[in-house]
């Protein structure tokens, strides 16, 4: 009863967030402390008994010991990786903002820019890592670049959604004074997009760290990535876990920092975004098809040109850095092309079988967690660290544990894919659930609607744009995650194929596989986009035009 009263007031959003009674605080702190003690105690117990000597998990005491013993080495490694991640985070987000500006100022470019951004985001590490190392030589270049690449898409997509999340009347305001896109951007869109931007910035914190970390697998001399390879191969499970915990803690700090800034920056309540459903006259189907086909062709042309042009400019050796025509020959014109295609097709279907269930599982996990977080602050506080940790720990580090828990079957791999995908969805949906307009919240409050019902009837529809932004991000992410899972656990599909290709210098095959992965990601993305258009036309029509 008391709980519900609290909630009804909270729904009005005005004065629900008052400080809790002071006497409750020490008790709550004690409970949290006890909870932690219990969890850690259990963990230690399990590690020392059931799982002893199996080197699947580190135990708290061992981890602590390792941390103390290697304080300076780990500290330095952490600093290196953190620095790479921070620079990459900055660079990636600046790039995202720049791209978003470009799209807002030239809306005609939106589709093309997003597709190109997607292509770059989908480039698998196996192909990209060595390339970057070749391009940069020694140093932090590849780590920073990979961190930036892991980040920019996560910010770009929600940012664009946010830029559109404005009611017609605000756009009318700038239009009244004959102002163009730039002014609208500065006075209206930029501020309105803030919550979505913050969602992107928050989701990309662990991504940046993980990007930098795996970037170190490309032959770096220092950092958490290097240390973890070392720990992994020397069966130093405690060390490995210590490193992963450090990574998680750093990501967590970044995440909390950004969310703190977000809370400071966007205090006003969301308003109702009235916008009429697609007022533009429907163009005939054949014209729509023509336009989208044209767009696809344009994107393809730009990708091919950039591909060939960049390799030529960097003067990359064609032995490793295959050009579009090499792939064409491999897949189409060579006498053995049919075999290659068949091989790729088999692998691609295996991957799809893992990626598709994983995609939906990840999405569902993200949405469900977001819903649970929004219903209960306690759940949020308890699970946020776990979610961040799951996102920033390289899957390679905990693969044996996951396999032990889940097996190598398609269920296990789908779960791995889900674990690697859910985080951006969670963050985006959390912000999306907060987009319930104040006036609508009042309506629910007038009927003392219970939280769960407000969630279903109000928050979920309000979340739709953010959810679909997440769904679009998750499509390529799931595919990439599936390839990693295959490489680690199943030894099948495109992931394994790329690893084997890379190890056996079958670079033409590798690049062809990269092309296939990219095409699959684009196809998945297009499907999601099609569903999104339909749903948002009803639920959030403001999203369907600039």
């Amino acid at each position: 009863m008391v709980l519900q009263g609290e909630q009804a007031v909270q729904a009005t959003g005005r004065d629900g967030d008052g400080p809790r009674p002071a006497r409750a605080r020490p008790a709550a702190a004690l409970r949290v402390l006890l909870g932690w003690v219990l969890v850690i105690g259990l963990w230690e117990l399990v590690g020392r008994t059931v799982l002893a000597d199996r080197h699947l998990i580190g135990v708290p005491s061992g981890i602590l010991g390792t941390l103390v013993e290697n304080a300076d080495v780990y500290g330095r490694g952490l600093w290196f990786t953190t620095r790479e991640a921070m620079i990459g985070y900055l660079a990636g987000n600046v790039a995202a903002v720049a791209l978003a500006l470009l799209v807002v100022l030239l809306p005609g470019l939106e589709r093309t820019v997003l597709r190109l951004a997607l292509v770059v985001y989908c480039l698998p590490l196996v192909a990209l890592g060595p390339l970057l190392r070749l391009a940069y030589g020694f140093g932090d270049g590849p780590q920073v670049t990979l961190a930036a690449l892991a980040v920019y898409y996560l910010t770009l997509v929600p940012l664009l959604v946010g830029m559109r999340a404005v009611p017609r009347s605000w756009l009318d305001l700038t239009a009244t004074y004959g102002r163009g896109r730039w002014t609208t951007l500065v006075t209206v869109r930029a501020r309105a997009a803030l919550p979505y931007l913050m969602a992107g910035l928050q989701a990309s914190v662990p991504a940046a760290f993980l990007g930098a970390l795996v970037g170190e697998f490309t032959g770096a001399e220092r950092g958490i990535g290097v240390l973890s390879i070392q720990a992994l191969r020397s069966l130093d499970t405690d060390g490995l876990w210590a490193l992963m915990i450090l990574s998680a803690v750093v990501s967590m700090i970044g995440y909390v920092l950004v969310s703190f800034i977000a809370r400071r920056l966007a205090p006003e309540q969301p308003t109702v975004l009235l916008a009429t459903p697609g007022a533009d006259p429907r163009r005939p189907a054949w014209r729509r098809w023509l336009v989208s086909a044209g767009g696809v062709a344009l994107t393809a042309a730009i990708v091919l040109l950039a591909w060939a042009g960049l390799f030529w400019l960097l003067d990359l050796n064609p032995y490793f850095a295959k050009r579009p025509w090499d792939v064409w020959e491999w897949l189409v014109s060579a006498p053995t092309a049919a075999e290659h295609r068949a091989e790729l097709f088999t692998a691609a279907s295996q991957t799809a079988l893992v990626a598709v269930p994983g995609y939906f599982a990840g999405l569902a996990l993200g949405v469900l967690l977001a819903a649970a977080f929004s219903l209960s602050a306690r759940v949020r506080r308890a699970l946020t660290p776990v979610a961040v940790a799951l996102r920033c720990v390289p899957i390679i580090a905990i693969a044996p544990l996951l396999v032990a828990a889940l097996g190598r079957g398609s269920f296990g791999t789908a779960v791995v894919v889900a674990l690697m995908t859910f985080f951006p969805t969670l963050v985006s949906c959390l912000y999306g659930l907060g987009r319930l307009p104040g006036q609508v919240a009042d309506v629910f409050a007038a009927y003392a609607t219970p939280r769960t019902r407000v969630l279903v009837l109000g928050r979920l529809p309000a979340m739709a744009p953010a959810f679909f932004a997440a769904a679009r991000i998750a499509a390529p992410t799931a595919l990439l995650a599936a390839t990693v899972a295959e490489w680690l656990a199943t030894g099948t599909g495109l992931g394994n194929m790329m690893a084997v290709d890379a190890a056996t210098s079958r670079y033409t095959s590798l690049w062809s596989t990269v092309v296939v992965v990219t095409l699959m990601a684009l196809a998945g993305y297009a499907l999601v986009e099609a569903v999104e258009r339909r749903v948002l036309a009803v639920v959030a029509p403001e999203q369907s035009r600039w």
């Binding site: 519900q4 009804a8 007031v9 109702v272 916008a275 009042d442 009927y447 019902r453 959030a540």
Partner: protein, 272 residues
């Protein structure tokens, strides 16, 4: 949540609302802003009360406090038949029309109205929804989304949403502010039978003094911020009200009196 709802609320008698020492101070832009001076108020069971007062004097705030959507400052309390407002909301017996229409943008007009019934734990009755939309002049727009409606149409949809649950306590915040004079008068005549009676207690904020007198059993006049009730005028015209009464002495007297209290007189326009 729904267990309590099975008894049709319409059958129960209208509640009495008791506000005791209700005051409200907002943290204003610079210093704290006292909006409502301490205020004691009883809305009799089944009565229709109109609240008039200058813009910004705290009328909407008072309505929200009575609905329990805003808490009064410490010491103040609102009881509805002895219950906390939350209880009443939970039973789906309260409806409030906010000053801005606040429809859910992703639902159609009919969907918005039907939603209220679902939220109040009542079975959705599509015929009733359609009938109410028809009464407020939205026949043919059942499937339109809020963005496709004019300002006045949105407001009328919101009124329909309020009435569809047959609430025992009805709070209307300038329900006809955005509709034209003709429609307003039509609604002024056609809707009140839905809410004046033994089953509903109504509090109505309006800027139109004649409307206040026409609709209410009692008109409360509020002072400028910090709002307090400076006059409490029983209307004493018989029900059902008809247009003829508008020309009665009692009516014009009351309108004048309230106008004077509000200071409208010095700008007197049209009447008296």
């Amino acid at each position: 949540m729904t267990g309590v709802q099975t008894a049709r609320t319409a059958g129960r008698p209208a509640p009495e609302v008791l506000c005791t020492a209700v005051a409200k101070t907002f943290p204003g832009p610079a210093e704290p802003l006292p909006v409502l001076a301490s205020l004691d108020l009883t809305l009799e069971a089944g009565s229709v009360t109109a609240l008039v007062g200058p813009s910004g004097c705290g009328k909407s705030t008072l309505l929200r406090i009575i609905a329990g959507l805003e808490h009064p400052d410490a010491g103040g309390s609102v009881r509805i038949d002895g219950d906390d407002p939350l209880e009443v909301r939970r039973r789906g017996e309260l409806a409030i029309a906010f000053q801005d229409a606040s429809l859910l943008p992703w639902r159609t007009a009919a969907g918005n109205v039907a939603l209220a019934r679902r939220l109040a734990g009542q079975p959705v009755d599509h015929r009733k929804v359609a009938r109410l939309l028809g009464m407020v002049g939205l026949a043919g727009f059942e499937k339109a989304r809020p963005a496709q409606l004019s300002g006045g149409m949105r407001q009328r949809a919101a009124i329909a949403r309020c009435l569809v649950t047959e609430p025992r306590l009805l709070l209307l915040d300038e329900p006809f502010g955005a509709v034209d004079e003709l429609t307003r008068r039509r609604l002024n005549i056609e809707l009140p039978p839905l809410w004046s009676g033994a089953t509903t207690t109504t509090l109505l904020v309006t800027h139109s003094i004649p409307e206040a007198v026409l609709l209410a059993d009692r008109v409360l006049v509020m002072s400028a911020r910090p709002g307090s009730i400076v006059a409490d005028l029983p209307v004493g015209l018989e029900r059902p009200r008809r247009m003829q009464q508008l020309h009665s002495r009692r009516f014009t007297e009351l309108v004048d009196r309230i106008g004077t209290l509000l200071g409208v007189d010095e700008y007197a326009l049209g009447q008296g």
